[in-house]
């Protein structure tokens, strides 16, 4: 009773206003604030992406911009003043070519001409100030990390000025290729078995097995690679053929890691094929295999392809397995039984040690990270495109 009265009271109050007024849009600040907060939460994801691109970009920029100094073993033969443009250097050491950038103490100069032991230089380059230098001062020659060299040089030895990402990239592609050789046939076969052959009981056992396999942390797979797969390979091929750390073992185990991904995505694609299509094939007297391989699989091709691409991207980005089992130290090789460091493995090894900011190592992990990010993002976008544009439309 009490409630009813108070309710009618409210109505009486509003009835003095016009009807339009009671129905008019009201500003609800609380609602707006909540919506604004929710919106900001959603926008954070954009900031994360921008953050990734910005951080990788900036540090990569300074990686390519930086000059790496090497001792020429030459010294100043005579002291120079701040205004001198002519240097006299000692005989010893490696020759300095025209156009080279050299450094004396903190000052950077560019060599414009060379005549015997005399160098003509432009003083105060790269925002440094001309200063007087004493006799016997060591001369360093600078070398820039060049983008072109980054992708063509086959050695990665930052300490002596070789910055070729190829050995790391090559090892990454090797482990990924081996992984795909394992994961594609097995994952697809398991998907076909699950979606086309297995009864509900078998499925109810197999699906959780795949889920468990997908839920195991990668560091555990790393342990598996090193303590099981490698000894197995060494047993089969011989200890002198297979090194303790090798890309084959890491690759095979990455393959096992991505099998659940391949099989679950492929199975989704296969079971999305309408039953009518299967019935049409059976109605023509096709056997189950003919139906599966020649009708269902082609109809699911876009989904299966997308699964493969995502799996490749996952394999390329996989870190702990290669960090544990593929070996440390860049090695440009095509032999899967040799140790070779991958891009991700390199990042983990470098950053696992004491890493000082702005060192060449610090910058290099960003340059490698950017390569990795570009590679995986491209693959993910391609897979999305494949699904969206090559899907067969059924009613």
């Amino acid at each position: 009773m009490q409630k009813l009265e108070s309710f009618s009271l409210v109505q009486k109050e509003t009835s003095t206003n016009t009807l339009l007024n009671t129905l008019r849009c009201r500003l609800r600040p609380g609602e707006l604030a909540v919506e604004a907060f929710l919106f900001l939460a959603a926008v954070i994801s954009i900031f994360v992406t921008i953050g990734i691109v910005y951080v990788l970009g900036v540090e990569t920029w300074s990686f390519f911009g930086r000059i790496n100094w090497e001792d020429t073993n030459k010294q100043l033969a005579q002291p120079v003043g701040p205004a001198d443009t002519r240097l006299v250097v000692t005989e010893s050491g490696s020759p300095i070519p025209v156009g080279a950038i050299i450094r004396l103490d903190d000052e950077i100069m560019q060599v414009t001409a060379v005549k015997g032991n005399q160098l003509a230089v432009q003083r105060g380059q790269e925002n440094t100030l001309p200063a007087p230098h004493k006799e016997k001062l060591d001369i360093y020659e600078g070398e820039r990390v060049v983008l072109w060299e980054f992708f063509t040089e086959t050695r990665w030895e930052p300490q002596i000025g070789n910055f070729g990402v190829l050995p790391l990239l090559n090892a990454t592609l090797m482990t990924s290729a081996i992984a795909m050789l394992v994961a594609l046939p097995l994952g697809l076969a398991a998907a076909i078995y699950l979606s086309e052959y297995a009864g509900p009981r078998t499925r109810s056992i197999l699906k959780p097995v795949l889920e468990v396999l997908a839920g195991i942390p990668t560091v555990v797979y790393g342990y598996f690679a090193l303590t099981f797969m490698t000894p197995l390979l060494r047993m089969i091929f011989g200890d002198d053929v297979v090194q303790i750390y090798n890309t084959a073992s890491a690759g095979i185990v990455i393959g096992i890691l991505v099998i659940p991904l391949v099989s679950s995505m492929s199975e989704d694609a296969l079971s999305a094929v309408p039953r009518a299509l299967r019935e049409a094939a059976y109605g023509l007297g096709a056997t189950r295999l003919e139906t599966v391989l020649q009708v269902v699989l082609p109809a699911a091709a876009s989904g299966v392809t997308a699964a493969f691409i995502v799996a490749i991207s996952r394999a390329i980005g996989e870190t702990m397995i290669v960090a544990i089992a593929a070996g440390a130290g860049p090695n440009f090789t095509f032999n899967p039984f040799e140790a070779a460091e991958t891009m991700t493995g390199h990042i983990v090894r470098i950053s696992g040690g004491d890493l000082s900011y702005d060192s060449i190592d610090y910058n290099s992990i960003f340059a490698i990270g950017l390569t990795l990010f570009a590679l995986t993002l491209t693959l993910n976008i391609i897979s999305r495109y494949v699904v969206a544009h090559f899907r067969e439309e059924y009613e």
């Binding site: 929710l38 953050g51 046939p185 097995l186 942390p217 999305r384």
Partner: protein
């Protein structure tokens, strides 16, 4: 009509069909074998871990107990563990350096320690048993004789069956020798990191999901619509970024850029003497939060989408505002689904290693973390460190730590499944 009919004869057709069926059968076997191989690889993986965590070890004493008894007591036939407290104290005083004795005395005077405690000290500091060789469970079973023969050839040594996964392992601190090392520090580190991850990622993730599901669809402004579409695509793409990239992001942003904040300096909390700079639990937690944010969003979106439209309409029909509808009806219905998704994301974060290495997990600390600004190590980092060591015994404790990790993950997943089952029952 002149009808084409070049189909084979009946008998030929029969043979052809028999062949087609044979091929079909063959491939079915191939598919089945491939599936079995996949199952087998899981079994072998688990088996390999269990086998590594248990097995015989050959323990060698630096000094044999009998020799100690003979040298320092007048009862040469007595066993070491039967001596008196005074005898143990005498042995310790004779064998340990002055500095060590002083340290032990300052912790708790030897004279006040119990007999058992002193006995443990004698074993630990004087006898110094060391595992010199360890065997997997399989070797322990099948090559028992060889192992015992090998032990017999070593002086002061014996064979023991060791469960590397034991209570001491769970509660023990990090140590440089495998048989004394434990995972307590790492376990606490993992829990601290995960706590921060969840506290940050869960509200943000759910909020973003609510926005995308409940608000984005009714936006009229074309620019905002486009932005919403970009956000959605972006989240899907972020979910596919390799975890190590998040580590690099965390290194640049949290460890370095926000060092004042993540090291705790901004709050006047320089936790332990050794400054952790930005390489703290806080940085690790935030990094993992960014990593699982897209996964939480996607899962929460699915859970929210599963809430029937009729519920929203009923609520709106009663004059509830959008937020009232969400808060009172949509969220409660979607909560079990959101929690299931969150638990699964958390188990993903718990298993991550690479981003933590990059963010700067400590490889060797013995002090338990005491807050978000401590240095840290985690279970996965320890597994990585121990696996990467060349000595077999470290592999054994890596296996033991893996079992701890897997049990933890299994518990989480079981919780998620229970939640899902209760939820789906309620819907029916």
């Amino acid at each position: 009509m002149n009808r084409v009919s070049t189909f084979p004869q009946e008998s030929q057709l029969r043979r052809l069909l028999a062949r087609r069926k044979r091929i079909g059968w063959l491939w079915q076997v191939v598919f089945l074998l491939a599936t079995i191989l996949v199952v087998l690889s899981l079994i072998v993986l688990l088996y390999n871990i269990v086998v590594g965590a248990f097995g015989y070890v050959i323990v060698q004493d630096k000094v044999s107990p009998q020799e100690i008894v003979q040298t320092y007591t007048d009862t040469p036939e007595a066993a070491l563990h039967t001596l008196s407290a005074d005898q143990y104290r005498f042995i310790l005083e004779q064998n340990l350096s002055k500095g060590l004795l002083r340290r032990l005395n300052s912790e708790a005077p030897l004279t006040e320690r119990s007999r058992e405690e002193l006995y443990r000290l004698v074993v630990e500091r004087v006898v110094k048993p060391r595992v010199v060789q360890s065997y997997s469970l399989v070797d322990s079973i099948f090559e028992r004789d060889k192992i015992f023969a090998e032990a017999a050839a070593l002086p002061h040594s014996r064979v023991e069956f060791r469960r590397w996964l034991n209570l001491d392992f769970l509660t023990g601190k990090q140590a440089s020798v495998p048989e004394l090392a434990g995972v307590r520090t790492a376990l606490l580190g993992s829990l601290w990191v995960i706590a921060i991850t969840v506290v940050v990622a869960l509200p943000l993730g759910v909020a973003a999901a609510i926005y995308l599901e409940e608000y984005a669809a009714v936006v009229a402004n074309p620019w905002l619509r486009r932005l919403n579409a970009v956000i959605q695509t972006n989240i899907n793409n972020l979910a596919g970024v390799p975890s190590i990239i998040y580590g690099i992001l965390g290194l640049a942003i949290f460890v370095r850029g926000l060092e004042a904040f993540t090291s705790g300096a901004a709050f006047g909390a320089t936790a332990d003497g050794a400054t952790a700079n930005g390489r703290t639990i806080m940085s690790a937690g935030l990094t993992l939060a960014l990593l699982i944010l897209p996964i939480i969003i996607i899962n929460a979106q699915e859970a929210i989408r599963a809430v029937p439209q009729s519920l929203r309409q009923a609520s709106m029909g009663l004059g509830a505002t959008r937020w009232q509808t969400i808060w009172h009806h949509v969220l409660p219905s979607a909560l079990p689904g959101i929690l299931t998704g969150t638990i699964l994301s958390v188990s993903r974060a718990l298993g991550e290693t690479a981003p933590l290495v990059v963010v700067g997990a400590s490889t060797f600390i013995t002090i338990d973390p005491d807050g978000p600004f401590s240095k840290f190590t985690t279970l996965t980092i320890q597994i990585y460190q121990w696996t990467a060591r060349p000595q077999d015994e470290f592999r054994n404790i890596a296996a033991a730590a893996i079992i701890v990790l897997l049990v933890l993950l299994l518990t989480l997943n079981a919780a998620a499944i229970l939640l899902r089952n209760r939820y789906s029952r309620r819907l029916v």
